[in-house]
């Protein structure tokens, strides 16, 4: 009997304990005024956040770029270095060694995918191909290395074609035979590749697909071989290295601007001083806007029209974080805007972390896009980099 009663009591209590309750409502809100949160907005102008900006040139190797650039535009000259070789099966090697194979033709296919400036895509374009005489590496070769490059002045190209989707040129048969011999006797016959430089008369820069595994449309070197009375075949060389270098004068920039340029490469530094930022608040959203002068920008035909703001982690070496960055996208107002909430919160946790941003083009090594952004010294205050912060506290 006692057990039954105890069980009934426990069941009743169990039901009560787990009984439903209404969701929290606003009832009782009047009594909680002291906890009411405040939400405010502050911007870099009203908040008197001192800002500084500057731009700098950065010489890096463009070996990681999937695009090869050749041509001339203004003072800019783009050259491409290509190292291609053959991996031959033993049967072919033996036939070559025994003199059974004849090279009928050697040619290179280039797949254009980019013109700079975009407005000059119909301008004249021509190039020359030179045999390189010394070694180079796509991981280290840069514009500064170009003067050390040794190459034969003879133009190896002939029968150039310039179709919409493919450019081709022929190479001398002896040059092709040298490449085959390099595959047969790599220790004695050296292959340093070719340099493709714009002709003096070129009026634009053209971009081509560089080596990308399995893409099928990267720049190719092919030779057609024939075995008398047996077969005709085409051998495709394998790209060992490819790289572009862009040479030319640095632009003269008014202090009211900072510039970004791909491939060349120009980056800008931008820093806000948050010592005037209110204490004991939580940042809910922060948006950075940088304004561009579209009349000065020079863009190619195909590129990512954005600016990336990287957090600087070492101010002496301009080292940036690869995980803390914000992409500033183009808006209808022709400026670049992006959220930097996480970044600002990171800086405000410890203001010594704030070494500012480094701004880079959305694709830093693909083309030659030149961004003219208004700097922190722009005469028009409304064009200076602008930060808007929504924050809360209670």
């Amino acid at each position: 009997m006692i057990k039954k009663i105890a069980l009934i009591i426990l069941i009743i209590f169990g039901l009560l304990f787990y009984s439903c309750a209404d969701d929290p409502s606003s009832i009782g809100l009047n009594l909680l005024n002291q906890d009411l949160p405040k939400i405010d907005t502050i911007n870099s102008i009203d908040g008197s956040f001192t800002q500084t900006s500057s731009f700098f040139k950065k010489v890096v190797s463009l070996g990681a770029s999937p695009r090869l650039l050749i041509g001339k535009s203004g003072t800019l000259t783009a050259h491409t270095l290509l190292l291609m070789g053959f991996l031959l099966p033993d049967s072919i090697k033996n036939d070559f060694k025994n003199g059974n194979l004849v090279i009928e033709k050697a040619f290179v296919e280039l797949y254009p995918n980019y013109f700079y400036p975009a407005a000059d895509s119909l301008e004249y374009f021509d190039y020359k191909v030179h045999k390189i005489l010394n070694g180079w590496s796509s991981s280290t070769f840069s514009a500064d290395s170009f003067n050390t490059l040794q190459y034969n002045l003879e133009d190896l190209s002939s029968n150039k074609t310039f179709n919409y989707s493919i450019y081709t040129f022929d190479l001398p048969l002896q040059f092709a035979r040298d490449l085959i011999d390099n595959a047969l006797y790599p220790d004695s016959i050296k292959n340093y590749g070719v340099l493709i430089s714009p002709a003096a008369s070129a009026q634009k820069i053209v971009g081509f697909d560089g080596f990308t595994p399995f893409s099928g449309i990267e720049t190719k070197l092919k030779i057609i071989i024939t075995k008398q009375g047996s077969y005709t075949d085409t051998l495709t060389a394998i790209t060992g290295s490819d790289i572009s270098v862009v040479l030319g004068d640095d632009p003269v920039v008014d202090p009211g601007f900072m510039i970004l340029q791909s491939s060349k490469i120009f980056n800008s530094r931008l820093k806000f001083d948050f010592s005037n930022f209110p204490n004991n608040v939580t940042v809910n959203k922060a948006v950075l806007t940088v304004y561009a002068d579209s009349t000065k920008n020079v863009f190619g035909s195909q590129f990512n029209n954005s600016v990336i703001a990287y957090v600087v982690t070492d101010i002496d070496s301009d080292k940036v974080s690869t995980s803390l960055f914000s992409t500033l996208s183009l808006t209808n107002e022709n400026n670049y805007r992006g959220e930097i909430t996480s970044i600002l919160r990171y800086w405000l946790l410890n203001q010594s972390n704030n070494m500012g941003f480094i701004l880079r083009p959305g694709t830093e090594q693909n083309g030659l896009e030149l961004f003219y952004l208004y700097s922190s010294e722009a005469a028009d205050l409304t064009k200076r980099p602008y930060l808007e912060i929504i924050y809360s506290y209670n």
Binding site: M1, G14, F17, G28, L31, L36, T282, R345, N394
Partner: protein
Amino acid sequence: MKNKFLVVILILLNGYSVAQSNSSYTRFGIGDPEYSASARISAIGQLGVAVIDDNTISSINPASWFKFKGTRFGIDIAYTGLIISENNSSSFYSETDFKGFNFGFPVSEDYGIGVAAGLIPYSRISYKVSDTFSGDDPYVVDYEGRGGLSTLFLGSSFLLPGDIALGATLDYYFGNLSYFTKLKFSDPSKFPAEFEKLNKATGFGTTIGILSPDISPLFGEHSVFSNFHFGAGIKLIPEMDADSLYISRSFAIEDTMIRAATKMKVPYRISAGFSFNLFSNYRLNLDYLFQPWSEYRFAGKSNNFLRDMHKISTGFEYKPGQIIGASIWEQIIWRAGLSFEKTQYLIFNKGIDQFSLFGGFSFPLGIENSIDIAIQYSTRGTTDTGLLSEKFFKLNFGISFGEIWFLRYDY
């Protein structure tokens, strides 16, 4: 059987952890005060300052421990259902509360030495309010209060010459008083924010109680009165140490923006009352409790939303005599009570008063053990001037075990 109870207790405690009540009044001071953890005492008006019950470990008057007959262990849980109303709307909320446990045993019946210890709540904060802001940039603000002060006590009683019982405890007070404001925007690109004002308080205090000898003989040899006692108690809490923190949390970042060591002064709590038996089976008690919350200070500052608290309560208990062969139902102890309380809350210059009705019973589980149930219905506050009217129903559920331990037998 005890193992089964333990399992049930654990299940019920689980319910406690997921529930939340919703009285915004508890935002002020240190929240709602707790007077009695025991369902037996709750059912007679929550005070029972002069009640002597050898099956109850009273936390309000340790002098009453002088009557311990055996070792006692008690644990209590309470369910609260709350209907809270404003001018045009009302909502129902519920919560389950662990009310504490205590343990006591006699050391010397001759000298009235009883020793007890326990962990009981002193105050409780519990509210959750949500507010939605519409407009161009809508957001929701959730306000939540949690925590309260708890007391860990250890004390003893002693019988003085003249059968005056005296008792005292050493109390250790501790607890977190947390007030959250949580901000969440509809725009997912805006980070949410959570602000917590957290006061961590610790400190020692004491409870001193006194019980008069039985004065019923003064009413004559054939009087209907018996066990007539006066009692009084006081809880003293010197200034407590308090860490005051202001914490901001938002998406993986927790920032303690302000941390200050300060003092919190919780005013003393004094109570007095009397209790007597009528026709041996009926017991009545009348009690009064006072706590000057106007003297409450935090960081040296008073709180304008608090006033002095007064509570008067009365209770009645029917305890059937021990009759050989009586059924279970005939052994049930019945209780009832009522109280009026001028609570410590003074909101918008309007004092918040509370009226309560109590009932309850103890269901025997053998000779020394019982299940104790107390039922409370209270009304508090008003919907005038933007205040809240609360109607709450509370079920206290206690289990009391008795064993004969520690007693020395003379052969």
